[in-house]
């Protein structure tokens, strides 16, 4: 290698300079029903198809959404606290993404199946997974403490992108089962696949779009663009936003304000309806922000500025929905106080469940390696047990 082969000074590969722009601005295509201050926005021709899905919500439903947001934030805060106190090894916080998740989660019907990443505690909540069951994997006692089929909520998937293809395949099965387009609301089923902005770069993600397009599978891709993939901002992953990518694959892509629970709910219902009725896949990009660190292992001060976080704090999903419902007279101080108390009780329940979670007996390591126990595994398990017993005396 000789020095004279170096590129001349000033010759820089293209695409390095992040564009100067306001990253809190989702642009004109973004579907929004609540402004950041909680004012209800006029329905426009652009948002009209989605607005239809808000019409059947009564005051109880609206309060229910706010309650979800508050409880989910509390669950998340408890997970964080438990990690800080050494009860959990790790916690990926969803702080800031509550509305993106609750909107999607509440739009799903019980028969709809979710394929989450690892941060979807809010979707888990809406699907009815007891929050304490999420803790096991972060405490190191299991790789996922719930049966996916209990609530149609798959195990968390940590390898970025893998689950997107699982969702498409599951949806292909749904289609073959005749659970699409029958017109029976109890029967028709959609699948929702969750990933992040970073996830859109993976081969698996892009292949899942191809498979969905070609098969017309009843799947909704839900990309939470929280603007960061650990330390990498959006411009390291794409130069056009994820929702616009769908067009190139041949199905609709919608950008929704992920901090507006009405918008994320309405757009999700729209897309799920399309899938269930046999009109094929949709990609939703929920435009939101990761308010906290990537996980409890991360230190975001190394790579992002606090002004950015502050700008997003002004768009808080809970403040926004609270302001809206207050102004509409649907909630008052007493209601909010009661809900906070409920959240505290939930947190106490989670805390207790975590602290009393038993360590699994070590022999359990050898279980479930194959569908039926195999004698080679059993032999090793026996040798392990003998060794442990030998060691104790």
């Amino acid at each position: 290698m000789s020095d004279d082969e170096v590129a001349p000074e000033g010759a820089t590969p293209t695409g390095h300079e992040p564009p100067e722009r306001d990253i809190t601005d989702g642009g004109p295509d973004m579907v929004q029903f609540l402004a950041a201050d909680g004012t209800r926005l006029e329905v426009t021709p652009q948002t009209e198809p989605y607005a239809a899905y808000l019409e059947d919500l009564d005051e109880d439903d609206l309060r229910g959404l706010l309650r979800d947001l508050i409880l989910v934030r509390r669950v998340d805060a408890e997970g964080f606290a438990l990690q800080r106190q050494g009860e959990l090894g790790l916690w990926p916080s969803l702080l800031g993404q509550e509305a993106a998740q609750v909107g999607a989660g509440r739009a799903m019907r019980p028969q709809d199946y979710a394929f989450p990443g690892y941060r979807e505690h809010g979707v888990a909540w809406c699907k009815g997974v007891p929050p304490e069951n999420l803790l096991g994997m972060f405490r190191g006692v299991n790789h996922g403490g719930w049966d996916s089929n209990d609530n149609n909520f798959h195990l968390y998937t940590i390898v970025i992108g893998n689950q997107m293809l699982h969702a498409v395949g599951y949806a292909m099965g749904v289609d073959r089962d005749g659970a699409v387009g029958s017109g029976d609301p109890e029967r028709d089923t959609a699948v929702m696949a969750f990933t992040g902005d970073g996830g859109t770069a993976q081969g698996d993600f892009n292949e899942s779009l191809v498979f969905a397009a070609v098969t017309g599978a009843p799947v909704v891709f839900y990309v939470q663009n929280n603007h960061w993939a650990i330390s990498e901002p959006n411009d390291r992953q794409f130069t056009i936003p994820p929702y616009r990518r769908a067009d190139g694959f041949g199905f609709p892509g919608i950008r929704v304000d992920g901090n507006d629970v009405l918008a994320s709910y309405a757009v999700s219902r729209y897309a799920l309806d399309r899938a269930r009725s046999g009109q094929g896949p949709t990609l939703i990009e929920a435009f939101t922000y990761r308010m906290g660190a990537h996980t409890t292992s991360d230190d975001p001060t190394k790579y992002r500025i606090s002004a950015e976080v502050d700008a997003w704090r002004a768009k808080d999903p809970i403040d926004r929905m609270t302001a809206y419902l207050r102004a509409a007279g649907a909630v008052d101080d007493a209601w909010i106080e009661r809900t906070q108390e409920e959240a505290d009780e939930l947190a106490a329940r989670i805390r207790k469940a975590c602290q009393t979670m038993p360590d699994p007996p070590h022999e359990e390591m050898f279980a479930h390696v194959y569908a039926e126990p195999h004698r080679l595994v059993q032999r090793e398990a026996q040798a392990f047990a003998d060794y442990q017993a030998d060691f104790e005396d």
């Binding site: 940590i158 390591m365 090793e380």
Partner: protein
């Protein structure tokens, strides 16, 4: 770093960083690529400060796509660059498996020697850090099984520094396994008067090294387990027990069979030790090789001590899943009882 001449104590993490820095100073074609390696310096901070000092062309925060990283590295290598790519954790190398096995490993051979794809694929590996799934794997055997790849691993500071530079300088693709649970352990790095030119490296990249001399049992091991074997040898010595020889393999593929055979012929007993599951693994290969080539010198069968043959378990089991000093000494006793 590279011009210092006094001995310093340094962590493995810092030594890897210093090794990359020296290689980047020496050769402008060396380019680091990976997820979060730039501004953040990697999730383990192994590339800390390098983007700041060498710029964004030399230290590239890539999109989150391992097959993309690896395929792009092949192309850059074909264009004359020396990519050093970071895979964030052992369990995330699989999206890149196709590129590594189908292209990286075979390019030189299928071009009948006309093409070279010098690159280093850095993988923090192994368990013991209490992590969630996919963050604690020892998957070196997959790559050792593939001819055309060099697979190496360091166990201490000095090797971290020198082997990283040798790996980067190698014209072969090198999968460089970094023992993540040892990242913050310190060791001595003495660059001597030479100031640290590559010729001063104490060992060649492909050499195995005897770390502890002994006469009764050879423990063949590597990476994070070298420390465990070392502790077992010391414990046995303190109790006037058997004399254990510890061989640090360093290069897992190709293997330094001369050092291995010489040691086993001397001691007559052999344990192959790894964190990795033992089935169809480096330790299997060691057992097979030793019995084929040292059969008449063996007093007992070769024993493998490693992870159990199950998926890497939830971290609360790690303590019993990972081989420790007691399991090594237990194997030593078993061998001596033959």
């Amino acid at each position: 770093m590279s011009t210092q001449s006094t001995a310093t104590r340094m962590t493995i993490a810092k030594a890897l960083n210093a090794g990359m820095r020296a290689a980047m100073e020496r050769d402008p074609k060396v380019v680091l690529m990976g997820e979060d390696v730039g501004k953040l310096g990697g999730v383990f901070r192994i590339t800390e400060g390098l983007q700041k000092d060498f710029g964004e062309d030399r230290v590239v925060d890539t999109p989150l796509a391992e097959s993309g990283i690896m395929g792009a590295a092949v192309g850059m290598a074909l264009r004359g660059y020396r990519p050093v790519v970071e895979i964030q954790f052992d369990g995330f190398v699989y999206p890149a498996f196709d590129q590594i096995v189908s292209q990286v490993a075979k390019m030189h051979n299928r071009s009948q020697g006309a093409l070279k794809v010098p690159m280093v694929i850095r993988i923090p590996y192994g368990g013991g850090i209490g992590a969630v799934e996919h963050h604690s794997e020892s998957n070196e055997s997959y790559f050792a099984h593939t001819a055309g790849l060099r697979v190496v691993t360091c166990s201490g500071t000095e090797d971290a520094y020198w082997m990283m530079q040798q790996a980067i300088a190698s014209d072969d693709p090198v999968v460089f396994y970094e023992p993540k649970r040892r990242y913050h352990e310190r060791g001595v790095l003495d660059l001597g008067d030479g100031g640290g030119s590559l010729e001063d490296a104490p060992h060649a990249l492909e050499d195995a090294v005897v770390r502890v001399e002994g006469s009764d049992v050879t423990v063949l091991t590597y990476g994070p387990m070298v420390k465990v074997a070392h502790a077992a040898a010391q414990a046995a010595e303190l109790e006037d027990g058997p004399s254990i020889e510890v061989v640090d393999l360093r290069s897992l593929s190709p293997l330094d069979v001369d050092v291995i055979e010489e040691s086993v012929r001397k001691t007559g007993r052999c344990i192959a030790l790894s964190e990795a599951q033992t089935f169809a693994s480096i330790t299997s290969e060691l057992a097979a090789h030793v019995q084929e080539h040292c059969f008449y010198h063996l007093e007992a069968p070769v024993l493998r001590v490693g992870g159990y043959n199950i998926p890497y378990p939830p971290s609360r089991h790690e303590e019993v899943f990972l081989p420790d000093l007691d399991r090594v000494l237990h194997a030593v006793e078993t061998l001596l009882a033959y």
